[in-house]
């Protein structure tokens, strides 16, 4: 089962936390070393952005309906002093995490999302969100949101809330 996408998941999970876009590009570059760089055209389906406007919660970072939260089971950091991609002040991001694949209705693309936990304070207790699209049981950890992903943070391993960091787009048909 150690396929390339698993490798990608594993490496991006440990990278997402402190990786700038620039260095993620570098990591992707390494991953692609030796592969032909064939351009690929994403399909433009369109017409979903309007539908999303009619369902505003799909674009509201403080709503569990927000498109990129499709595999969060926990408290939304955007309701706890953080944002979709930032941990609340005084908390510590988890260096390891799980991965989701979510559909963005605004551009009709699927994105790979890293869900990091923010750690070191007790439960935020606000905006409890339980979505599990493509979520798998704990024995498949890279796709599991039941694990306390703060668990490797040592003394700062208490779970506070979860963020969702876009890693990249998933091409249609994958």
């Amino acid at each position: 089962m150690r396929s390339l996408d698993r490798m990608f998941e594993q490496s991006s999970r440990t990278l997402a936390q402190r990786t700038s876009r620039r260095s993620l590009l570098g990591a992707l570059g390494q991953l692609l070393t030796g592969a032909a760089l064939l351009p690929l055209l994403p399909l433009a389906r369109g017409g979903r952005a309007e539908a999303a406007t009619a369902q505003p919660d799909v674009n509201n970072p403080q709503s569990c309906d927000y498109w990129r939260y499709c595999a969060i089971d926990g408290f939304l950091c955007a309701c706890c002093g953080g944002s979709t991609t930032s941990c609340p002040p005084g908390t510590v991001p988890s260096p390891i995490t799980w991965i989701g694949t979510c559909h963005n209705p605004a551009d009709d693309r699927h994105y790979m999302v890293s869900y990091n936990d923010c750690c070191g304070k007790t439960s935020c207790g606000h905006c409890d969100c339980n979505r599990n699209e493509r979520e798998k049981p704990t024995y498949r950890p890279s796709r599991n949101n039941d694990l306390n992903w703060c668990l490797a943070n040592g003394d700062d391993s208490n779970y506070h809330c979860s963020v969702s960091v876009i890693l990249g787009v998933v091409p249609p048909g994958s």
């Binding site: 070191g120 409890d128 699209e133 049981p137 024995y139 950890p141 694990l147 003394d155 700062d156 208490n158």
Partner: protein
């Protein structure tokens, strides 16, 4: 009250044994005590409350399914694993504390509570590797003879600790790369669920060290229809239910697990429409041979939704015997079920609204709803 009044108080008290006129005698002075538990009965249930909104404060409520009384509480720390000893005399809690409540020095520990007194009798400090995940029977577990306790470790690398509960020691750690959790069988075997859809079974020697290991055949498909990482105890092992409702019966009575041909909770027409869901998603009444599963209508990703109905199956013929919708009973969706193993069995059903319902396990008749048995009661043990 004036000082002179106090003398009256005392005097009235002192003469209380002597009735004067028609007045009833005053109530006697009372003695403060600590309640002793009555003898256990089969309808006792240990309700685990994760207290998800205040997660450092998880606890277990001991509840009586006959009198509908709360009998006491066992505190359980942060995101614990919980189980009972085979004789029911001990509750084992594997948990994590921080020296400053939610932060500071982390201590992972297994605590043993005497179920007669609800006092912690002793503890075993673990390496800081304990699996912190949703409740299941497999986060911490006893061997069948009670001589070993197994604690699941996830860092996220997977392994488990072997503990000696009697002497309060850690005997060792066994690596289970790619396989997780502690599914006990017999006096000295531990199986783990593998990412590959197999079971790894490690056999221990008398010192709790690895004596051998075996990997089973693949019995489910992790990508397309994984089983829940929660088991339903059967006479010879566990039933594992898949997201789409396949039932995998695993017999762990021998060194190599035996897998019965899977059967389905749903008809072909229901498949992918009706699904099992929740946290503790099944209970088996072993004498009656009845399996209870909370079921809901939902799509991919709905596997943590509670059941809008409880479906009842004959575990032998796999025939569905009943569907018990819970909304007409005033209940929110069911996230956990457990059943007593006596001759007049009761079914316990915990809801997403944190209530625990007590039902007649034969008829489904609602006997009682205990409101707000904690914040998030996600597993029940008996």
């Amino acid at each position: 009250m004036r000082a002179s009044a106090l003398m009256f108080t005392a005097l009235v008290y002192l003469v209380a044994g002597v009735p004067v006129r028609a007045a009833p005698p005053p109530l006697q002075a009372e003695q403060l005590s600590v309640q002793k538990l009555p003898p256990p009965n089969p309808h006792w249930i240990y309700v685990f409350d994760e207290a998800f909104f205040n997660e450092i404060d998880a606890r277990i409520h001991l509840f009586d399914g006959d009198t509908y009384q709360r009998l006491g509480q066992i505190d359980a720390g942060f995101s614990p694993g919980v189980n009972l000893s085979p004789d029911g005399a001990t509750t084992v809690v594997a948990t994590t504390y921080f020296s400053r409540g939610s932060r500071g020095t982390r201590t992972d520990v297994v605590e043993f509570t005497d179920n007669r007194t609800l006092r912690v009798t002793h503890e075993i400090v673990l390496p800081a590797k304990r699996a912190e995940t949703v409740p299941s029977l497999f986060n911490v577990a006893y061997s069948a003879d009670g001589h070993f306790v197994y604690a699941a470790y996830i860092t996220p690398a997977a392994s488990f600790g072997v503990l000696d509960p009697e002497h309060g020691t850690v005997l060792g750690e066994i690596d289970t790369a790619g396989c997780q959790l502690v599914i006990p069988s017999g006096p000295n075997r531990v199986s783990s669920l593998c990412e590959s859809g197999r079971l790894l079974t490690v056999t221990l020697d008398a010192q709790g060290h690895e004596a051998g290991r075996a990997m089973s055949a693949q019995f489910f498909d992790t990508d397309h229809d994984p089983v829940f990482a929660q088991g339903i105890k059967s006479a010879s092992g566990y039933l594992f239910v898949s997201f789409l409702g396949e039932v995998h019966e695993v017999d762990l009575s021998d060194v190599q697990p035996r897998f019965a041909a899977p059967w389905s909770l749903v008809s072909p027409a229901e498949r992918g429409v009706w699904r099992p869901g929740g946290v503790q998603l099944g209970a088996l009444q072993r004498a009656l041979g009845r399996l209870y599963v909370p079921m809901h209508k939902g799509g991919e990703g709905s596997h943590k939704e509670g059941g809008s109905e409880i479906w009842v199956f004959d575990a032998g013929s796999h025939r569905r015997l009943a569907r018990w919708p819970v909304a007409p009973l005033g209940l929110a969706p069911i996230v956990a079920v457990q059943v007593s193993q006596d001759e007049a069995p009761v079914l316990f059903a915990a809801t997403s609204a944190a209530d625990v319902a007590v039902l007649d396990a034969r008829s489904g008749r609602l006997r009682h709803v205990e409101k707000h048995l904690g914040q998030t009661p996600w597993m029940m043990l008996n």
